[in-house]
């Protein structure tokens, strides 16, 4: 296993497990950036993470345990919706995928695949058009924002009862995390939140964790979890067949079609950051 020498990736907070999935006792094992980590639940509000003998910094946020193999450069990004009292926050899935984290972020941002990969759920033919949308980099918060995304969806969420035009907003607040906000099927004035938190097991393997934060008084936690797990499992074979497994950052790899607009912004943003782990660097 090659050691991670990318200072950008080493300084990031990385998710390793849903807090609720950690057994009450016993040492658990996982892998991050090619390194074996052990973690343990001390009580409901404390989790310790070790790399060999070294105790690592821990943040518990959004239902997940986050840690850092180097020195964290900044706090974990904000997700203020998580604290809204009427939301259902469900740690909905943890799925292993043989792909790099940036590939998975890019797939998450791409509405174009909905009708073909999530047929009958997040999209359906002939409604395949990705309409013009806006992409901006918020320099102050250092994140990418894609707005005014509109897409026809037969079953937009676990609590849906029919097809709708869904509004989407995407945020990429972290090189390996993305958050989407979409029309809430049960309350027009609110937005449902689905966050993708990627754990880079190594450069070409991830554990994809999902937080679902919705306004939905009807669906059970299990309904919400199974809905999200099915969606993720549909993406899995698509992601595992992408080559190369790392995301190419060479500008010449970009193709100017509209669905790719956010992908182009994302690749550029990663280039600017100088991120190396999970990508193929642009030729100098």
């Amino acid at each position: 296993m090659t050691q991670c020498s990318d200072p950008v990736a080493l300084a990031l907070w990385h998710p390793i497990a849903a807090i609720e999935d950690i057994p009450a006792d016993g040492k658990q094992k996982t892998q991050l950036l090619g390194e074996v980590l052990h973690y343990r639940k001390m009580d409901d509000t404390r989790v310790s993470v070790h790399h060999g003998d070294r105790k690592l910094p821990v943040t518990l946020a959004y239902g997940y345990v986050w840690t850092c193999l180097g020195t964290p450069e900044r706090d974990l990004f904000d997700l203020p919706e998580y604290a809204e009292s009427d939301r259902r926050n469900v740690c909905a899935a943890t799925v292993g995928v043989n792909v790099s984290a940036p590939r998975a972020v890019e797939n998450f941002l791409d509405m174009g695949h909905f009708p073909f990969v999530h047929t009958g759920i997040l999209g359906a033919e002939p409604h395949t058009e990705v309409r013009e949308y806006q992409v901006n980099v918020d320099t102050e918060r250092d994140e990418i924002l894609a707005t005014e995304c509109l897409f026809y969806q037969p079953q937009a969420a676990a609590g849906s009862s029919g097809g709708v035009m869904s509004d989407y907003i995407y945020r990429v607040p972290h090189p390996y995390c993305a958050v989407l906000y979409k029309s809430c099927p049960t309350d027009e004035s609110r937005l449902d939140v689905i966050a993708l938190f990627l754990q880079s097991v190594d450069e070409e393997n991830i554990r994809a964790h999902a937080l679902v934060s919705v306004i939905d008084t009807q669906s059970s936690d299990l309904d919400i979890r199974m809905f999200q797990q099915n969606i993720f499992s549909q993406d899995k074979p698509i992601l595992e067949n992408q080559l190369p497994k790392r995301l190419p950052l060479d500008p010449r790899a970009e193709t100017p079609i509209r669905a790719d607009k956010s992908a182009i912004a994302y690749r550029r943003w990663l280039r600017t950051k100088g991120l190396q782990y999970g990508v193929l660097a642009a030729a100098a």
Binding site: D21, K29, N98, M226, Q229, Q234, K236, E240
Partner: protein, 231 residues
């Protein structure tokens, strides 16, 4: 009404969903979250199947666990054409049984490799893959010799049997365990044929066949659904 205790991502549950759909039997799914909740190891589920395994079906007072036992039951109960489980032919019946046992060895190899990659089981993934490739080579050769005799299915004969469905699930999901089917052309042709059977359904990770004819079997497409079969 048949209740299927089901996990959408389970290949063993998928075998049962396939036959239910192909025989046009209506049923109700009860989702049991295998990963990460491990709901199949809870007391509530252990009281349904002490083995703590999916799938299980219940109908009336009857509870059956084990995917292959369920396939046998469903075929006998709902397949009026008597082709899916050919009891009147001792040789084919033995072959069906043999290949269902083979399918169980796929559960402990190809399926286990998938559990390591996708569900973080602490098993020896490389050993599972090696064993799966050994089995795939045997299976590919078997299907190849069958094809030379114009037999399109796992057990020689005109129609598919429950052995096809039993073998199909973990063969078609093998890539998720890092087991490529590139070197097994007869297996690839056979999975494509299974996908063209009338009533075929997908699961996450399984794609429908490309454009082409649907293979309609004699008299299994108009069966009464579960509730009315005895009427």
């Amino acid at each position: 009404m048949i209740i299927l205790y089901d996990y959408e991502l389970s290949g063993n549950c998928y075998k049962v969903r396939l036959l239910l759909s192909m025989l046009n039997v209506s049923y109700e799914k009860k989702a049991i979250e295998f990963y990460p909740a491990a709901e199949h190891k809870t007391d509530a589920f252990l009281s349904i199947n002490a083995l703590g395994q999916l799938p299980v079906i219940q109908t009336g007072d009857l509870t059956i666990n084990d995917s292959h036992a369920i396939l046998v039951y469903l075929a006998r109960q709902y397949d009026k054409s008597d082709t899916w489980f050919p009891i009147s032919d001792p040789v084919r019946l033995a072959q069906v049984t043999q290949w269902m046992c083979f399918a169980d060895s796929l559960t402990s190899s190809a399926s286990s490799a998938r559990l390591v990659n996708g569900f973080f089981y602490d098993l020896d993934g490389e050993a599972c893959r090696q064993e799966a490739h050994r089995l795939f080579r045997i299976f590919d050769e078997h299907l190849w010799f069958n094809e030379r005799e114009d037999h399109l299915w796992v057990v020689p004969g005109k129609t598919p049997t429950i052995a096809d469905l039993a073998c199909f699930a973990y063969v078609v999901l093998s890539e998720e365990g890092g087991i490529s089917r590139m070197d097994y052309p007869a297996i690839r042709r056979w999975t494509d044929r299974v996908k063209r059977l009338a009533g075929f359904v997908v699961m996450p990770g399984v794609f429908p066949a490309g454009p082409g004819p649907v293979h309609v079997l004699p008299a299994n497409d108009t069966f009464p659904s579960a509730g009315t079969a005895e009427a």
